[in-house]
Amino acid sequence: MSNSRLFKLRAGPAFRYLVPIFSVYAFTVLLPLLISMYYSIHNEGSTKFVGLQNYIALAKDNDFWFALKNNVIITIFAVIGQVGIAFVIASFFMTKLLKLEGFHRLVIFLPVVLAPVVTGYLWSLIYNYRMGVLNWLLNLFHIDPVLWLDNPNYVLYSVSVPLVWQYIGLYFIIFLAGMQNISKEVLEASEIDGATWFKKTVYVILPLLKNVMNVALILCITGTLKIFDHIYVMTGGGPGRSSMVMAQYAYNNAFTMSRLSYGSTISIGMLILCAIIVLAMSRWIGGEAEK
């Protein structure tokens, strides 16, 4: 009972901490967002109020929905690839079976350290038709070289790989930090019960990591739905529109085509769709964890 009194917001701390930090955030992020909304309900050049006209155009815009579809595909890859693989690797760390633990722990995070632009640039060289590592490997097995970034049929998968590859380390570290918080007794108890790695992971670790998993998924989904740099560097959304994603489409409209209000409309549209996806997911997974 005393908890509720202890953990209640009091005026002092609120004014000391909550208000100033939130004001800074509101000034730098929320206010520009409002201005962006203002652009989206005005014509190009912001001379005339046009209501929801831009949003209606957006709803009818095939290219936008196509980009959204690409985003969703990439996000599914990212969730399985980044969060999934990272969780599996992190759970190996909780067993004593992995060799070279220190080395892995040090190295797996390294790609995260690279700027997205560097990753994109590097992978475009790996994918290079003539000189890339991948086609060099295929050549060893006498397989014809593949146009990784030129063929519209698999360019979307090609651009997803670097993305997944780069951020596995991030979720790995997040999971590892979370797993260290699980008390040793619980784990040891499960080991005494003779639980295998699989059982231990699914029945003991996973339920205890619900919060961390929720955050990891939110990070992964929000990050991937607004993915930009990697694709901008590798293909620019091309060839044609094959690897176009929403953020790239918004960028092209606002900065290449000088259509700021439509570009803003796309961004707001993205925000709304993204919010729906994240909230739905959050409700689905985190039900009682949110309390």
């Binding site: 000391r16 901490y17 100033p20 930090i21 800074v24 000034f27 050049g45 475009s124 994918y127 290079n128 038709y129 003539r130 146009l147 990784w148 970034l149 030129d150 063929n151 519209p152 293909t235 620019g236 959304g237 091309g238 060839p239 044609g240 529109r241 094959s242 092209n252 409209n253 606002a254 900065f255 290449t256 085509m257 000088s258 259509r259 700021l260």
Partner: protein, 442 residues
């Protein structure tokens, strides 16, 4: 490692103070160097100039600015120089809010965006006052920057964006005696080059501008003729007209017969040039600027074997086969807010980078100035540059799409061309899509 609570609170307070302080000190300094009138120091005029001539090719421009500084000690010239790609992003951002530098480099397409918003000033008065300056320019050099009779930009260069650089030796080896003069000969030559194991045409279209700009602009003009383009701008001709669709078909045909390197859409111009330099490709289509690149970077045997040509005539084409997409493209524009002494200083700066003297320096560095250069030292030119001027001597310029059309339309056409090259869209559908965007631009 752990700070005390007091230190934490101090940091938070500092954060607030910094943010408030920013507002304060920022305001006081913005009157000094902002776009305002700069009346604060009456004796020293501050001029800001935005440009992207930061590499070797831009040395002439930077030298000219340096010279201007020496000759005009009363002007405090502040350069805002960043490379081309970020420059475009920055200028769109500044343009969206009307905060352009005093002077800036702009192409016709950017001006089309700025003029209706009233951001750029007209040169008519200044040009009319100085007949010698005005008459020094090549014919049509103001076309790209003129709207309703008002000139908003002074060209900094005038060149063809379309030149076919070809390797004569590789052509001979493939059994092609001279550069093809008709479309059938051209496609036949491509077949022969392909049979001899070469990439016929090397291009890097990753940014989706090169094919549209240096190849398609000229190809389209062969089919449509320049009159169609003018009619299209006025709204009487449409992209769905058969002439334009035929041009798209011809481009897709080239792609289908394997004229280009298969990775055309994932490499950039430099990588395409490397193919040509390594004798893997027999031709490359590039702008006049590649003359400088070849003279500087190509192996000697490549440089000496390189010939220059333009696209041959096409069957049933309405265009002049002696025309190439080209023109003055980039210009210097000035902010409409400039007045009085500041404007005078700006005009004299512009004169110093567009007059006779600047033209002479530029041409002697293998550049293509927009002025008729009366005297220059021809021996300073590279052999390729001499060839280039010879090639251009009897050619006419046709419109460059990305200079003459509004940015939104350019993006749709060029992105669509990339799609066309991979067979992702039919010429007819693409034409329809382009026209839809054209229709939204009143």
């Amino acid at each position: 490692m752990f700070m005390t609570i007091r230190k934490m609170q101090m940091l938070l307070i500092v954060l607030l103070i910094v943010s408030i302080g920013l507002v304060g000190c920022g305001k006081s300094s913005s009157t000094g160097n902002g776009n305002g009138n700069g009346e604060k120091s009456a004796d020293k005029i501050t001029l800001t100039i935005g440009h992207f001539d930061i590499d070797d090719n831009g040395a002439i421009f930077r030298d000219a600015l340096e010279k201007f500084r020496k000759e005009h000690p009363e002007v405090n010239l502040v350069e805002e120089a960043i490379p081309h790609d970020p420059y475009r992003v920055k200028m769109t951002t500044l343009g969206a809010s009307g905060n352009l530098p005093d002077l800036f480099v702009a192409n016709g397409s950017m001006l089309l965006d700025y003029i209706p918003k009233g951001y750029v000033g007209s040169y008519n008065e200044a040009l009319n006052q100085d007949a010698e300056w005005k008459n020094g320019f090549l014919p049509n050099s103001f076309d790209e920057f003129t709207t309703d009779g008002q000139i908003y930009g002074v060209p900094t260069a005038m060149f063809s964006v379309h030149v076919i650089y070809y390797n004569k030796e590789l052509f001979e080896k493939a059994g092609i005696a001279s550069f093809p003069q008709t479309w059938e000969e051209f496609t036949a030559a491509i077949g022969k080059l392909k049979d001899s194991g070469l990439t016929p045409i090397a291009m890097g279209n990753k940014s989706n501008v090169p094919v549209g700009s240096v190849l398609f602009g000229t190809l389209a003009d062969r089919y449509t003729g320049t009159d169609w383009f003018k009619a299209m701008k006025e709204g009487t001709a449409k992209f769905t007209d058969p002439e334009f669709v035929n041009a798209l078909k011809a481009l897709q045909e080239l792609s289908k017969i394997g004229a280009f390197n298969p990775d055309i859409n994932s490499i950039d111009g430099d990588q395409a040039r490397t193919l040509y330099f390594n004798k893997q490709a027999a031709m490359m289509v590039d702008g006049a600027w590649a003359v400088t690149n070849i003279s500087r970077d190509a192996p000697e045997d490549i440089e000496s074997a390189t010939g220059m040509a333009i696209l041959p005539s096409v069957p049933g084409g309405k265009g002049d086969p002696m025309s190439v997409a080209g023109g003055s493209g980039w210009s210097l524009a000035f902010n409409a807010k400039l007045t009085g002494a500041k404007k005078d200083a700006a005009i004299s700066l512009i004169k110093s980078v567009s007059g006779q003297e600047y033209g002479r320096v530029k041409i002697e560095h293998n550049g293509q100035p927009p002025v008729k250069v009366k005297e220059y030292d021809q021996s300073k030119l590279s052999p390729l540059a001499v060839d280039y001027f010879k090639l251009m001597s009897d050619k006419k310029f046709s419109p460059i799409y990305d200079i003459q059309l509004a940015p939104a339309l350019v993006e749709v056409i060029y992105k669509g061309i990339q799609d066309l090259l991979i067979g992702g869209v039919t010429p007819e559908d693409l034409a329809k899509k382009i026209q839809t965007v054209r229709d939204t631009q009143k």
